[in-house]
């Protein structure tokens, strides 16, 4: 009963905050409409410079096939390798394809003609992708040639499971939802409680018979509700704009979301108990959020981290939520497949909640 009045007060204050309601409305829209396009590791529009020393029907066919791909854009036809290098230095090309004289002749003879790929690897990812894409096109090309001549070779058709078009957006959107929840449910309650400390209003509450746990609950519940609401908006937006619908059960997503939101607000509480100003709380939360985010696998795969870093991620609640979100969204995993993640997250949630209660009682 008392909790109802405390919650009423919290919601009134949130509504009257000049900034919070706008943030809560704008953040999911911004995160879903803008970030998936910005946080995109796909490499596109690679500028290709070709040195065709053969000038035969087959060499032209290879060039046409490369420039027709959606990854490449034929930027220059160079006469010599030096000319091509100059184009790379002017930043007009990213990758050079050099076809040797006698390319067609060797092909017709059934030999393996050489082509050379040189990629600008100042940006390692871009250079690597450019080289890979180009070799793939050449492999496709040679497979085509082989099929035309008698005695065809083995054909390789790669199949990409769970994300058939290798769309990076599908990979990153579930992670963006996690990041959003971390900020809403970790930062906001921490700042709210420290704000009451800073203004001195908590003192007036502390001399009333209101039990501390009720007061803290009244601080957390609004953000739990807001967090779940925002997640729902995000899921809706992802379905509407990107057609990204969870392959698995929505209930599993919400189960994990609830666990995660409790973990986050627990962490926020711990931070608020140890800080006396909003500035302190802000910086400490910021530090933890950045560390947890970079070590969660949200943006870069956990598997490619060094072993010691992977060990640290075992303690990162974000990691389990990101894994679960991706598994449900893309693979359609059910609760039983994700039971490990679920129980570990439950453990971390319990740990932070206990720590929060303990550090609050100490004062």
């Amino acid at each position: 009963m008392l909790l109802k009045y405390l919650l009423e007060k919290e919601f009134k204050q949130i509504r009257r905050n000049p900034f919070l309601p706008r943030l809560i409305a704008a953040y999911p829209i911004f995160a879903m409409m803008v970030f998936p396009w910005v946080v995109d590791l796909e490499v596109r529009d690679i500028n290709l410079c070709v040195i065709d020393n053969d000038r035969s029907a087959y060499s032209r066919r290879l060039v046409a096939q490369a420039s027709a791909s959606r990854y490449f854009h034929l930027s220059e036809l160079a006469a010599t390798y030096d000319e091509a290098m100059e184009s790379i230095q002017r930043n007009q090309s990213d990758v050079i394809l050099e076809i040797n004289p006698g390319f067609e002749r060797e092909l017709m003879r059934g030999d393996c003609p050489d082509v050379m790929i040189s990629a600008n690897s100042v940006n390692g990812t871009r250079g690597g992708f450019a080289g890979n894409y180009l070799s793939q096109i050449i492999a496709d090309f040679s497979a085509d040639i082989a099929r035309e001549s008698p005695g065809s070779l083995i054909e390789i058709t790669p199949q990409y499971r769970y994300n058939p078009h290798l769309d990076y957006k599908n990979y990153v959107i579930p992670a963006l939802m996690v990041i959003l929840l971390t900020i809403i449910c970790g930062f906001l309650p921490a700042l709210n409680i420290v704000g009451e400390k800073e203004k001195g209003t908590i003192e007036q509450i502390n001399v009333t018979p209101v039990k501390k746990y009720l007061f803290i609950l009244s601080k957390l519940i609004p953000y739990w509700i807001i967090g779940v609401f925002i997640l729902t908006v995000c899921i809706g937006l992802a379905a509407l704009t990107y057609g990204l619908i969870p392959a698995g059960n929505l209930l599993v997503i919400y189960l994990f979301a609830v666990l995660f939101v409790i973990t986050c607000s627990g962490l926020g509480l711990v931070v608020s108990n140890y800080s006396s100003t909003m500035q302190q709380a802000m910086f400490v939360m910021f530090f933890f959020t950045i560390v947890m985010l970079l070590m969660s696998g949200a943006l870069t795969p956990v598997k490619s981290m060094p072993q010691w870093a992977q060990t640290i991620t075992w303690f990162n609640p974000l990691r389990y939520f990101v894994e679960a979100m991706r598994a449900v969204y893309l693979k359609g995993s059910g609760f039983w497949d994700l039971r490990t993640q679920c129980f570990v997250l439950l453990g971390i949630a319990g740990f932070f909640s206990l720590w929060a209660v303990w550090s609050y009682k100490k004062k």
């Binding site: 009045y5 009333t208 018979p209």
Partner: protein, 293 residues
């Protein structure tokens, strides 16, 4: 009603309270008077169960501030020195909120706050943050009273309030006292002492004396004189050098002087007249006496 017994409190190396003890009787206005940093707020925070003392014991209405804090919180009204209501809630919402928190309603105890809150009613829908200083103070007092506490604790309620509002505030307290509420009030202004039934003078975490203002003034041992010349600053130096001057300090446009001799020495160009000591004079006397020990 309030009993403090040998209370000590340290903040790391700083000794905030060094064995404070006094008793407040039921139904009186008790003033805790001392300069900034004397330990008044720390003592209030202990009595209101916000912090615990390192040693010593305090009871309110027979209830221990450490073990019975939940009971105490129902019986006290506390108004911190800093405005601590929700600035983004309206006047009415704040009052209703605190009534609810104490498990009562505004209507039930409206009689008690009518006089104070009545002046705020035209602004019932204004946010508390947009009120003037005096209005904020009245709202804070209303919220502290809405559950009809037995003890009202006011930490420096008149700091930063204009003289007219201060006078008004004092008469409000008088009326609350008549309703049977025990009032503990702290202030750094010595001139407010006379409005209290009894006062405790506090300095550097120690109580100098506890008594009624009249008795404290009556216990002033020396004959006090006010002195003035066209250059008070030079006069102060001159007087302090004289062997027959016991004490000399500035108080407003006059210097206050006490002498070791009965007779007042004649000083040319200096106007000297006998004056009644005030609480401030007593405070200075008691404080220097303690420092000399």
């Amino acid at each position: 009603m309030i009993v403090a017994d040998n209370i000590h409190k340290n903040y790391r190396e700083v000794e905030a309270l060094k064995g404070v003890g006094f008793t407040v009787n039921a139904g009186e206005i008790f003033g805790l008077i001392g300069p900034d940093g004397a330990g008044k707020t720390t003592l209030f925070r202990i009595l209101t169960t916000l912090i615990t003392a390192d040693s010593g014991r305090a009871t309110i209405d027979g209830l221990d501030t450490v073990t019975d804090f939940e009971q105490i919180r129902k019986r006290i009204g506390y108004m911190p020195g800093k405005f601590a209501l929700y600035q983004d809630l309206t006047v009415e919402e704040n009052l209703k909120f605190y009534a609810t928190v104490f498990n009562t309603t505004v209507e039930e105890n409206y009689e008690l706050v009518r006089e104070i809150y009545g002046q705020l009613e035209p602004f019932a829908n204004r946010r508390a943050g947009a009120l003037s200083g005096g209005m904020k103070q009245k709202l804070a007092l209303s919220c502290a009273l809405i559950h009809r506490p037995a003890v009202l604790m006011l930490d420096e309620p008149t700091t930063g309030v204009d003289p007219v509002s201060r006078g008004e505030f004092q008469s409000m307290l008088e009326r609350l006292k008549r309703q049977g509420i025990t009032i503990l009030i702290s202030t750094p202004y010595m001139d407010e002492a006379n409005r209290c039934d009894r006062i405790a003078l506090i300095q550097n975490g120690k109580i100098l004396t506890v008594d009624s203002p009249d008795k404290i003034i009556a216990s002033y041992p020396d004959s006090l004189y006010a002195a003035k010349s066209d250059n008070n600053y030079r006069l102060l130096g001159r007087l302090n050098e004289r062997p027959d001057v016991k004490r000399c300090y500035v108080s407003g446009e006059y210097l206050r002087v006490t002498f070791n001799t009965e007779a007042v020495p004649a000083l040319d160009g200096v106007e000297i007249k006998p004056v009644q000591p005030t609480v401030e004079d007593c405070f200075i006397y008691l404080n220097s006496k303690r420092n000399n020990l």
